[in-house]
């Protein structure tokens, strides 16, 4: 356990900030259609929140927040959401990823908007899972498991 992990200020600030960073990441993902943002950016911010927590509270506690199996499931879920959206467009008679072919709403541009949001969510899930798994894979093994402070 290094010196920076023992600092009370850093531990408290990280514990307070992590939910807000996650909230901001969700805002960036959902706001990607109408402002600056998108799935890649929001996914990286969400991953950074978990990575920050794992850096300060230890890898073992970070893995309690996001376990390896959940990570693998999320990484493939995001890609599946994206591909399934494209295949759904084929099922409704359009071409692959031709969003306006899906007859959900009367205005095809609105359908396209909501399906783009869905695609962005899929991208965000994949990116956040991959970012967290990259950090956990590259991090060195920790000898002892310490309890998280409540």
């Amino acid at each position: 356990m290094s010196k920076i992990q023992e600092s009370v200020i850093i531990r408290t600030v990280v514990r307070i900030m992590v939910p807000f960073i996650e909230l901001f990441a969700l805002y960036v993902i959902m706001h990607g259609a109408s402002g600056p943002g998108g799935g890649f950016q929001g996914g990286v911010i969400f991953g950074a929140a978990i990575i920050l927590y794992a850096m300060i509270y230890g890898i073992a506690n970070g893995k309690k927040k996001m376990s390896d199996s959940l990570d693998r499931i999320l990484a493939s879920t995001g890609l599946t959401i994206y591909a399934a959206t494209g295949l759904a467009c084929i099922a409704f008679g359009g071409m692959f990823l031709q969003y306006r072919a899906v007859p959900l709403l009367s205005d095809p541009a609105q359908v396209s908007k909501y399906l783009i949001d869905l695609v962005e969510i899929g991208i965000g899930i994949t990116v956040l899972a991959v970012m967290i798994s990259l950090f956990f894979d590259i991090s060195p093994p920790e000898p002892e498991v310490e309890e998280a402070e409540e």
Partner: protein, 150 residues
Amino acid sequence: MSGMIDIVYAEYNYWIYVTLMMIGFYAMIAKKNLIKKVIGANIFQTAIFLFYISLADVTGGTAPIIVGHGGEHAEHAADVIYTNPVPHCLILTAIVVAVSTTAVALALIIRIYNEYGSLEEDVILAARRKLQPEFSEHARQKGVAEVSEQ
């Protein structure tokens, strides 16, 4: 003389990106340390991103997000100049690929360090040359030794 300065001023973005690219390129081909090579590749990629984004810029232009959609600030919608959105989109793709390649490169470097105990290119090449005839045999014996230690 002032004509020369005008030419340089109008194209100063190219000078900046060429300088950055030269730094990255030099690190890639002259440094022996593998981590430094990866850092050089990252600087090179950043130079290319800067080049594309500066090509997209238009004097007086705003970010490529349509003003006036949804009724806000609709009175300004007619006289807004947007910067070129196409290079932004290309570079968003390129950044993601850069992150992926960096992650895989760092993972390979960690494996190389575990195998050879060094990050210097000369040491690794010398070790490989020495091991080459019986390289697979060496790796197998090393694996057997590790398992028996545990």
